[in-house]
Each structure stands twice: as structure tokens, then as C-alpha cells.
């Protein structure tokens, strides 16, 4: 997304609020609010990170040999069946890489989540917000421990993305 996180966060608050379309649908289904809840920040994080999934998935789809699709058509498969039986299995690496990138980006999401979820302990206080707050209150020891925990996680997933890209 090219929008600044705060701008995006503002619009997310509007559409996820009780008068917004998504907040309204959520309320009519579950009876609760979407703002300041974990499902709410999960939704916002995924929406904001989704653009990062497009590129690897597009690249994986484009890499598929057109003749494989033609071969499937000649063998009697509809476009839909071809998508599920040929396209998806042959671009699975790209799809997994996209999911991992979205996950990594969600882990680092900050501004939008703060606006949509606030920082409610045990509900919407995610690691990146907790680190920010620890630094703000000069609690460097806590911030260091949390940061150290996140580094190996990010690194392992980055290795996974690279490996998937190499394989495909």
C-alpha cells in the first residue's frame, strides 16, 4: 500500500467502526465490536499486508507454462478445474512465499494496529506495540528481550521465503 499507515489506519477505523460497513456486518453477525479487539487487528493487519502477497503470487502464476493450461483444456478440464488442478499445484511455492511475507509484515505492523486496536493488554497489545511502549517508558531491558525474540522468527521466515523463491 502506498498510503501512509496513519491515513490507512484512519480509514480502517471508519469502515470497522459501528457505522462502517465492515463493523456493521461484524456486529450483526457476532453482536460485538470490531474495533479494539483481536479479530479487528488481525483483519486490519491482513488487509494492510495483502499487497505484499500480490507480487510473489503474480510472479508464480506468470511462470506457469501456457502450454500446460492448453494441455489441461484439451484433456477436458474447465478453466476452474485447470486452476485448481494445474495452476495452484504448480505455483504453490509462490503462494506459500506470499503467505509468509504477509505474516512477516503483520508481525511488524504498528501504526494501523495502534489506531484500530489501541493497546489493550492481553487483547490488542502486539509485540511491536509492546516494544514501543517499553522503550517509551525507558524499560530497555524488556524491549531488548522482546526484540531479540523477534529477530530469529523474522530471520527463519526470511530464509524460508528465499528457499521457496530459489526452488521455483
Amino acid at each position: 500500500m502506498v498510503l501512509p499507515p496513519t491515513v490507512l489506519g484512519f480509514y480502517m477505523v471508519i469502515i470497522m467502526g459501528p457505522k462502517g460497513i465492515i463493523g456493521h456486518v461484524w456486529r450483526s453477525v457476532t453482536g460485538g465490536s470490531l474495533l479494539f479487539t483481536f479479530p479487528g487487528i488481525a483483519f486490519a493487519a491482513v488487509v494492510c499486508s495483502l499487497p505484499f502477497a500480490l507480487q510473489p503470487m503474480k510472479a508464480a502464476f506468470q511462470k506457469i507454462d501456457r502450454r500446460l493450461l492448453e494441455s489441461a483444456y484439451v484433456l477436458g478440464l474447465s478453466r476452474m478445474e485447470t486452476f485448481f488442478r494445474v495452476v495452484i499445484p504448480n505455483s504453490i511455492n509462490g503462494i506459500v512465499a506470499a503467505a509468509v511475507l504477509v505474516f512477516l509484515h503483520c508481525m511488524g505492523a504498528f501504526g494501523v494496529l495502534l489506531m484500530v486496536g489501541g493497546s489493550l493488554s492481553g487483547e490488542t497489545k502486539v509485540a511491536s506495540i509492546a516494544i514501543y511502549e517499553a522503550v517509551e517508558s525507558m524499560n530497555y531491558r524488556e524491549a531488548a528481550i522482546m526484540s531479540l525474540c523477534l529477530i530469529p522468527i523474522s530471520y527463519v521466515f526470511l530464509l524460508l521465503v528465499n528457499k521457496l523463491n530459489e526452488e521455483s
Binding site: R67, E70, A72, Y73, V74, L75, G76, S78, N90
Partner: protein, 173 residues
């Protein structure tokens, strides 16, 4: 007549204009220099490309007719098409490739036996030789019980011995 073809198609450098028919249980061979449109003609019969004008009729059914605006999609033409560089599905084993569109699993085993690739059933296509891939592609096309089998340069990448063997196998069909 099993197949009647009268088609015109404009290509970049020249036009294809051809009419031919093929009687039942007959083999029809198309010969010409590379780039002369053989593949395009096969692709038009398969429904993967559209001629500008003409008619394609198979077993009395009109597959394509420009004047009546009929153009049956490739899925409904029930043909076997072995592509020039036999595009097997890389994510499937030899067996699953042959069984991909087969209505009857038992037939798949028979075909694998007949074309001597039964021992490769669990291998992926990139792990078998060119000749074996070729035979797998033919099995895949036959397993669908096609009313018409189209082979695009089926022997181009094979050595003389394999070529001769495969040609004999095809004649038996």
C-alpha cells in the same frame, strides 16, 4: 469421413489455406518445413486457435463453422493432443499424468504396460528420459479415449531406435 477440415487463417508472414479429410481409422501425416504452419493447423483442429474462415467437422459433428458462428471449446472436442515438447504436468507422477483425464483407472495400467513405462509410474516427468516422457504423453492422450489423436512432431527429439520402436507401437493403435 472422420475428419473434414477446410480452414483459412492469416498469420504474420503468410496465410494458411488448407482443406483435407481423413477417413475412419486412418493415419494422416502432414509434412512441411518448420514454420510452415503445421502446428497452427493442429492447434486449430484442437480448438486452441481460431481460424478466420472455414469448417472443421469430426464424426459428423461441427466443431467449427465460421459462417454459422460455431466454435466448440477444446474441452468438448474429445481429442488426444500430444504437444511438440510433450507438456506433462511437472507436479504429478507418470501414473497420475496418464490418469489425469482417464475415465477408467484400469485402462491407465493397461496403457502403462503397453507402452513399457509401468515401472516408472511413481516417478516425476523430469526424472525420466525423453523417450519415456514421450510415451507417457501419448498414454495421457489415449487414456481420455479420444475420437481423434493429434501428434505434433511426435518423434522429433528421439533417437533412431526409440523412434522406430514408438512408430511401430503407434501403428498397432
Amino acid at each position: 469421413m472422420v475428419l473434414q477440415v477446410i480452414i483459412k487463417k492469416r498469420l504474420k508472414c503468410f496465410d494458411i489455406e488448407i482443406s483435407f479429410s481423413c477417413p475412419d481409422e486412418q493415419l494422416l501425416v502432414m509434412i512441411g518445413p518448420s514454420g510452415s504452419g503445421k502446428t497452427t493447423i493442429l492447434r486449430m483442429i484442437a480448438g486452441l486457435e481460431k481460424p478466420e474462415e472455414g469448417q472443421i467437422i469430426c464424426h459428423g459433428k461441427t466443431w467449427f463453422d465460421s459462417s454459422r458462428r460455431i466454435d466448440i471449446p477444446p474441452q468438448k472436442r474429445r481429442i488426444g493432443y500430444v504437444f511438440q515438447d510433450y507438456t506433462l504436468f511437472p507436479h504429478l507422477s507418470i501414473y497420475d499424468n496418464v490418469a489425469f483425464a482417464a475415465p477408467d483407472r484400469k485402462e491407465v495400467d493397461d496403457l502403462l504396460d503397453r507402452f513399457c513405462i509401468a515401472h516408472l509410474r511413481n516417478r516425476k516427468p523430469h526424472l525420466v528420459s525423453g523417450g519415456e516422457r514421450q510415451r507417457c504423453a501419448i498414454c495421457q492422450a489415449l487414456a481420455r479415449r479420444p475420437q481423434l489423436l493429434l501428434l505434433d512432431e511426435p518423434f522429433s527429439s528421439l533417437d533412431v531406435l526409440t523412434r522406430r520402436k514408438l512408430r511401430d507401437e503407434l501403428k498397432v493403435l
